[in-house]
């Protein structure tokens, strides 16, 4: 990308508080958090926990009543909010596109406001449409109402990225689209982030979305108190308390499968035969392989059928009718959950792993899956135990400080407000 302002900027929130006049309890109470440059942090919590409020305090759509915000080391708590917001991308639910402007005009808004020359804005608009997977020629002149929900959301992300801000705030951006499109948009965001390395703060109430997108997840309870702020793996393996485990929900081990890719586990080789091979050779291969089955590949090397010994006998030598067709294959980028799903549907106890063009590269079987999941869960648990000691020490120190009445030092290391 040309002129990429490069990577994200770090964000530090220090004892951030929002009190509304006439309300006894603060809406956001003394939140401290450090977000590293280029990191995706997901704020997740039940409705009304103040996660959106916390997000909007970062770009000061809601002015904090206490605490400091630092961005890339610079204190932005008191600078001009309009100037600040032009340096922070902002994407919201249902995209928030302006219906009276075309897609291109919507995207060009921020670059125009900060005075980019026309030619640069034009080029940038095309580039961004391309980046979010919309054909510039087709979508450039459309109005938002002529787009589907998913397309609007893409334009919303493009608008947020328009002036290449180091920081991106996303407030339940995929909350209003159907599950399939949402899944697709999440994948796209992950892909984009892979290229752009922005600092992204993402708000959602969907824990599965948080696991999928976040490098780290902050689980918030009421008044934005941070219940746990850690990597998805650590939260799944060791929820800090009942609130977090309640939020993680059932099936933490299953969700863990989403965090590991097929390429991270052992892919084994399996006896294969080509569809053009003479029958005798196939039979020999079956005998020699020491397995009950061989995988039949088509002319392009793509998995096609599982052949058992009995199949060949019954089919009387014709390959066309023999064996069970391969229903499902996975790529190396698929999650273990996808792999498990495929293993369960194909009743062979294993799934073929394919390369870029669908060609066979190996198999993953049930046993490998079970072993690697076991290994992962065990490792997570050990990590978590180690962390827990640190965490408890931190909390002890914090409680001590709070009891001494010195509130200025609370919230060390992002565990502010926990009791």
């Amino acid at each position: 990308m040309p002129e990429t302002g490069g990577h994200g900027a770090s964000i530090e929130l220090e004892s951030l508080t929002k009190r509304y006049p006439g309300v006894a309890q603060p809406a956001v109470d003394n939140v401290s958090m450090e977000i590293k440059a280029g990191e995706v942090v997901v704020l997740v919590g039940p409705s009304g926990c103040g996660k959106s409020t916390l997000l909007k305090m970062i770009n000061r759509l809601i002015e904090p009543t206490g605490g400091r915000i630092r961005m890339g080391g610079e204190d932005v708590t008191d600078i001009d909010p309009v100037g600040l917001r032009r340096k922070i991308g902002y994407a919201i639910q249902s995209a928030g596109l302006f219906p009276h402007m075309t897609v291109a005009q919507n995207i060009a808004l921020v670059p125009r406001m900060i005075g980019w020359p026309k030619s640069r804005i034009g080029a940038r608009t095309e580039e961004l449409l391309d980046l979010v997977g919309l054909d510039p020629g087709e979508f450039h002149g459309r109005y938002p109402r002529q787009l589907s929900g998913g397309q609007q959301q893409r334009v919303g992300v493009a608008r947020a990225l328009a002036a290449d801000p180091p920081v991106l705030l996303m407030d339940e951006p995929f909350g209003a689209v159907d599950p399939i499109t949402r899944d697709h948009l999440q994948d796209e965001l992950i892909r984009l982030q892979h290229e752009l390395h922005k600092t992204i703060v993402f708000v959602t109430h969907d824990f599965d979305e948080a696991i999928k997108i976040g490098d780290r997840i902050a689980v918030l309870r009421e008044r934005s108190h941070i219940a746990q702020f850690d990597t998805p793996e650590a939260i799944l393996a060791n929820p800090a308390d009942d609130f977090v485990s309640g939020f993680v929900g059932a099936g933490a081990a299953l969700k863990r499968l989403n965090l590991t890719r097929v390429r991270d586990v052992e892919i084994t080789d399996y006896p294969t035969v080509m569809i053009d091979d003479p029958l005798q050779q196939i039979v020999n291969r079956l005998r020699a392989g020491g397995t009950n089955e061989v995988l039949l590949l088509d002319r392009h090397g793509r998995p096609c059928k599982w052949l058992r010994r009995g199949d060949l006998m019954r089919a009387r030598g014709s390959l066309a009718r023999a064996g069970t067709p391969v229903h499902d294959t996975v790529t190396r980028d698929a999650t273990l959950r996808d792999a498990l799903e495929a293993v369960l549907t194909d009743n062979t106890g294993r799934v073929a792993v394919t390369g870029r063009n669908g060609e066979y590269t190996g198999v993953v079987d049930m046993e490998t899956l079970l072993n690697s999941v076991h290994g992962m869960l065990e490792a997570d648990r050990l990590d978590a135990l180690e962390n827990q000691h640190e965490l408890e020490e931190l909390r002890a120190a914090q409680t001590h400080v709070e009891q001494e009445g010195d509130r200025g030092v609370t919230g060390v290391g992002g565990f502010g407000g926990t009791r």
């Binding site: 909007k56 759509l61 917001r85 928030g96 808004l109 087709e138 459309r142 002529q146 397309q151 947020a160």
Partner: protein
């Protein structure tokens, strides 16, 4: 002028299979917004009415009093005065009501909105002729009193529609506008007002039609206009004068309404049409 119906170009290739359900009213050349029927029917009817009136006057046997009332360019003078009254009063209504409406939806002034609306309501609730009489007593006979009466009468629809239009804007959209870094002035001019244009224009159209009507009453304040023909017709018991005044007024009102409806369609921001 021939105006083909809305042109829709063929759908382009789908961007994404999963989003194939997207509405495909492709951009291409922007479609004509006004149909042929809308452009031609009303003007044709008005021309026919005027022609019929003119033909009737040509063959009618008019007495001296009638001829006297219609001669010497008095009809065109009254018509011109009427148009002027309408135009000037509408102009003032716009520059009073729209800024006031904007002001009453900003921050601290929001609380004053009910008061201002109540005030504007009394302006319209007072019978126009009574208001005019009071103004004449206060300001003396003349065009000024007539204009003020007309304006007071027509501020309400524009004011209430401006306020309603601005208030109807989706707050999340305005927050998005602030969130991407627009100043409050930019939010107003680039987002709020364009989105409120349809409602504001509807108010302006109502005000225009009201003004054509109330301008007839200007004659009682010495303001001239087509009301002159009507009152002359009544006091002298000359039907033709009365009919001519009424016909011209009706034609003018319908014409103004038609023009306003065209403006409503043309000025509505693209992208908002359904």
């Amino acid at each position: 002028m021939t105006a083909p119906g809305p042109v829709r170009t063929a759908p382009g290739p789908a961007a994404d299979e999963e989003e194939a359900e997207a509405p495909r009213t492709a951009p291409g050349p922007p479609p004509r917004r006004i149909g042929r029927q809308k452009l031609t029917v009303l003007p044709a009817v008005l021309v026919a009415v005027l022609l019929a009136t003119w033909l009737w006057f040509r063959q009618a046997d008019l007495d001296a009093l009638t001829r006297n009332a219609l001669s010497g360019g008095q009809v065109s003078k009254a018509l011109w005065q009427h148009i002027q009254l309408t135009a000037i009063s509408t102009f003032f209504v716009l520059i009073i009501a729209i800024p006031l409406g904007i002001l009453l939806t900003r921050g601290a002034f929001r609380r004053a909105a009910p008061v201002a609306m109540a005030f504007a309501n009394t302006g319209q609730a007072t019978p126009a002729i009574g208001l005019l009489a009071l103004l004449v007593i206060w300001l003396g006979i003349g065009r000024r009193a007539a204009l003020i009466g007309i304006i007071a009468y027509a501020v309400l629809p524009v004011l209430s529609n401006t306020i309603a239009g601005l208030k109807a804007n989706d707050p999340t959209l305005l927050e998005a506008a602030r969130g991407i870094g627009m100043s409050s002035a930019e939010v107003l001019t680039r987002v709020e007002l364009p989105l409120a244009v349809p409602l504001i224009l509807a108010g302006v159209r109502t005000a225009l039609v009201l003004n054509v009507g109330t301008a007839t009453l200007a004659v009682f304040g010495g303001g001239g206009g087509l009301g002159v023909l009507i009152t002359t017709g009544i006091t002298n018991q000359r039907m033709p004068v009365l009919v001519l005044g009424s016909v011209l007024m009706v034609v003018l009102a319908l014409l103004v309404d038609w023009l306003a409806s065209l403006a409503e369609v043309l000025l509505r921001p693209r992208g908002l049409q359904s």
